[in-house]
Structures are given as structure tokens and as C-alpha cells.
Symmetry: C2
Subunit: 155 residues, 2 copies
Amino acid sequence: MTKPHLADSVCPIDRSIELIGDRWTLAVLRDALHGMTRFNDFRDHLGVAKNILSDRLHRLVATGILERRPLADGRSEYVLTDKGRELSVVIAAIRQWGQRNLFDEGEEMTRVVDKRTGKDPARLVLMSDEGDELGIEDLRLISPNPFVSRITTKA
Amino acid sequence: MTKPHLADSVCPIDRSIELIGDRWTLAVLRDALHGMTRFNDFRDHLGVAKNILSDRLHRLVATGILERRPLADGRSEYVLTDKGRELSVVIAAIRQWGQRNLFDEGEEMTRVVDKRTGKDPARLVLMSDEGDELGIEDLRLISPNPFVSRITTKA
């Protein structure tokens, strides 16, 4: 991965994509949200090279998204922290976009449903304080210091 | 980028991260959602190498997320399609996670606010049909064919 220094950016997107803007990281997070915890399970399910998986798990532990816990068998399990569990909304948003845009009508797909009802969750929508839907035309970007923003997003 | 063939996966996350699971792609999408359309503006703002930016823009056009439009000056502009604009929820979810988890109390950050009120949008929450908040414990994964799912997510 290319690694510009975005950790100090004033933009929350920059800081976030420094940690999770990577296909393998997002795939690991999806599986972790589905309850997966073991190195070999991630490797088998993702078909990812061990060194890549090891790198991604280490980063996720280092940034407080996963916690590594030793197990009785000498191995470890990787469990989402609260910070990691909060990414469930990001993963859900990606899922909904994929469901709506990347499948043909009637094509089979995995779904994540409400356990009680078996129904799909409601579509995620950005809303105002008062409950009105906000489109991108309704939003304004506010930068504390545009000059700093430009510098710190440089590679 | 490593490129396993996820385009046929039954998992919407797999198909989505094949297209957008990349830091530069996500940074371009953020800037496009803020109204940026020109190659040089993306390059200057992101500080990204021209060949990387060119690759990411081409992919986004090829997958129908951006549309390339010729301009009178012989250059092009890159404009979000409806499919691309729908990614605003994904970018908003990433922003909210970053705001909540990657900044110290009182630290300055860019914000995207409701134009009319100047207030932050409400927090994105996954909800049931009936409007109850759904945590990850409330969800169940349903796979049309777990065996196929495992094969098609392999690199």
C-alpha cells in the first residue's frame, strides 16, 4: 500500500481511509462483524496470503479496531473493540450500495437481515436533525483551515 | 492493487470493495462529492501521482461511478453518476466514524453540515423496518449458497 501521512489531516475521511481504505482490511472487518475471530478462518474464507492477512490484522490491532486475545491452545483470537463495532454502519452502507447497484434483478446474494423478522434493515439515509433526508446538494463542507487541509492531505 | 476476482461473488461487500476498496478511490469520491470534477484539481488536492489518479479515474468511469465529459478546452470533467452519488452514504458513514473515533476532544476537523441549519447531520444508524436501532447482535447473515460463497471469494 502507498502510505501518505494522513493521520494528521483535519479531514475525518483522510484519517479513516488511512486505517480502513484497503480491500483486505474491509473484507476482514466484514468477516469479523459476522463473528469470525481466528487467523485460519479469515485466511480460508478470504483466500488471502498469510503475510497480507497478518499485516492487516496487526494494523487493525495497532489502531484499536481489533483486540488480540490469547487462547488456551496457544493461538489468538481477534475481536472487534467498540471502535471496531462502530464500523458496522460503514460496512452496512457498503453492502446496501452493492446490493442496489452491482446485482442484476433477481440475482442471488448474501443478505444481512433482522434476526427477529428476517427482513432487510431499512435503507441508510443521511438525515437532518429534524429528520429530513439530506442529499448532497443540501450539504456544505466547512474546513477549519483550507490551507492546512491541502498540505496535510499531500502524499 | 492486488486483484482477486470478486466481481462474481454473491457477497455485495466483495463486489463493492472490488470497485471502491482503495484509499485513493475513496479520496477521489470524497472530493467528487464536494463538487470537484477536474483532473488537475484532484491531483493538486490529493497530492497523488498522475498515473495513480489516472488509473483510479479510469476505473471509476469503467464501472459507471463517474462519467467523463469532454470540455470546450479539450480537457475532461469527471462527474458522479447516480450510482456514484449513492456512495454519499458510504462516505458519510466513514466520515462519522472518523469524527467519533479518530479525533481528540476539541480537535479541529472538516465537517459537512446541513446548508440550511449549519448543523451536523444526524448519526447514521442501521434500523429495522419498524424504526428500531439494529446492533450487530440483532442481525443474521443469510447466504444463498455458502459453498459458492467460499469459492468465489477466493483470490
